[in-house]
Symmetry: C2
Subunit: 251 residues, 2 copies
DNA sequence: CCAAGTTGTCTAGTAGAATAGACAAGTGGG
DNA sequence: CCCACTTGTCTATTCTACTAGACAACTTGG
């Protein structure tokens, strides 16, 4: 008769985990298949209706799963055509002139920087040393999420001397770019002095901000930017979604 | 004003993952804390109302999370008193006389065996060799979930020769015990001939049956049971929740 | 251009998640 | 024993996940 589908009963939904929504299970299933390489980059996924019948699920539920995958940057959809796998990583060159907006724009994508929060705090040993300050000196701390085509690429914590850049937070909120924020202070030709790259896994907070699951790999990029004259301006600790970018170091 | 709490908005629920129910997130959070050792065995958890305010959540939601933890066998609750951590593992001795019901009963718990399914199938090379049959000979295959105090302990696949034990499935469904099923065939003094122990992680199917998350550790126990005279009776491939039992091998 | 196939959007209904509050039933300490 | 505290259970309400169906907007290949 098939009048009711009690959902938790039994049947074909072998991937249903208690307390996890159906669309999330389907999305995770596709993520795994894509990551394993079951779908090549650029390949078209089956039609939504086809996936729906395969999972024994309504098409709307599949659409939700696909929206999740798109938000994670794993696929993109074209109306009337289909949904396509997108696993190629954004090349992110690390050099003297390392500017997120420029790099993303050069790759033909739309760059975006959102300030999550800012505050004044005393410099710890690490930050003080990098910026040439004394421990405890006041510094501005910015938390910024950067995205390419609306897909989060990195979360970064940035510190600047509060003495010189006291209002950096407010200015960034308008400027939405570090380069334009520094323009405001008359700093134009800043350059990267050094970059330190390591790896880790997402914690709950960064996972949320990057729209990743917990325990996904991230590239940790610490750096120091200085003026043309070599004066320290800012130091950052960025966490990049390793599934979405590749750091390029020329030498 | 705080009239509405739109849930997804922001705020204190730092552990909320999109597509995962609140109670599940809380349960997972506690599981992790317990596994890490933040709560000793036998320790009392905070009162439900206290946990509720700490997470900024209704008490009912906490109760759901606690019910989940109880189902996973990580805690037990005592009305009027509190909820207590239970991380001690069931000692499961492997010897000549290895009977699930007896072992669990001896430890003061209630044993239970539920037949998930049974069918006839041709013996593969492995099974045929163990049972002294030819490849392709018909064998009875049973899928059994075993629990102690309603907490799933293991899932096991058992093969018996169909020639002699053709109706083992139907009989087990009544008897709910391998020992009593074999009694039915007049086999009384069977004994364990060998046991092979390895380790793996849960797949989606076993995770569901064992009420575990995927990628939790399991002990894989393969074995052969024989009659008092040494004739092969049955061979099994059991997957035991490594969080809930410890295998004891005397020598 | 047309037709088949695909994604996007809308409406509507059902079941379950989460909230809120109240009270019963049980425990434990003074 | 009594009282403070805890878990268990009930009712009611709101919001969302999921289902169902229909149609519009769009792409693609013949």
């Amino acid at each position: 008769m098939l009048t009711k589908t009690p959902r938790g009963s039994s049947g074909k939904n072998h991937l249903l985990e208690r307390g996890v929504m159906l669309w999330r299970c389907i999305a995770d299933d596709f993520e795994q298949m894509i990551m394993i390489g079951k779908h090549d980059n650029g390949a078209r996924l089956p039609a939504e209706s086809e996936i729906a019948t395969k999972y024994g699920v309504n098409r709307h539920t599949v659409r939700r799963a696909m929206a999740e995958l798109a938000a994670r940057g794993l696929v993109y959809t074209e109306r009337g055509s289909g949904t396509y796998v997108k696993t190629d990583k954004l090349d992110y060159p690390i050099g003297q002139r390392t500017r997120f907006s420029e790099i993303v724009a050069a790759a033909g994508h739309e760059a975006e920087g959102r300030l999550q929060g800012h505050r004044l705090e005393p410099a710890n040993e690490e930050v003080a040393q990098r910026l040439g300050l004394n421990v405890g000196d006041s510094v501005v701390r910015l938390e910024i999420v950067r995205a390419s085509d609306r897909v989060p690429i990195s979360v970064a914590t940035t510190w600047l001397s509060a003495e010189r850049y006291n209002d950096a937070g407010k200015i960034y909120r308008q400027a939405r770019s570090i380069t334009r924020t520094l323009d405001h202070y008359g700093v134009t030709g800043y350059r990267r002095k050094w970059t330190r790259i390591s790896a880790a896994f997402t914690d709950a907070v960064d996972a949320g901000r990057l729209r990743l699951s917990v325990h996904r790999p991230i590239l940790v990029v610490e750096s120091l930017d200085v003026t043309a004259g070599g004066e320290p301006i800012l130091t950052t600790r960025g966490r990049f979604a390793a599934d979405r970018i590749a750091l390029i170091v020329e030498s």
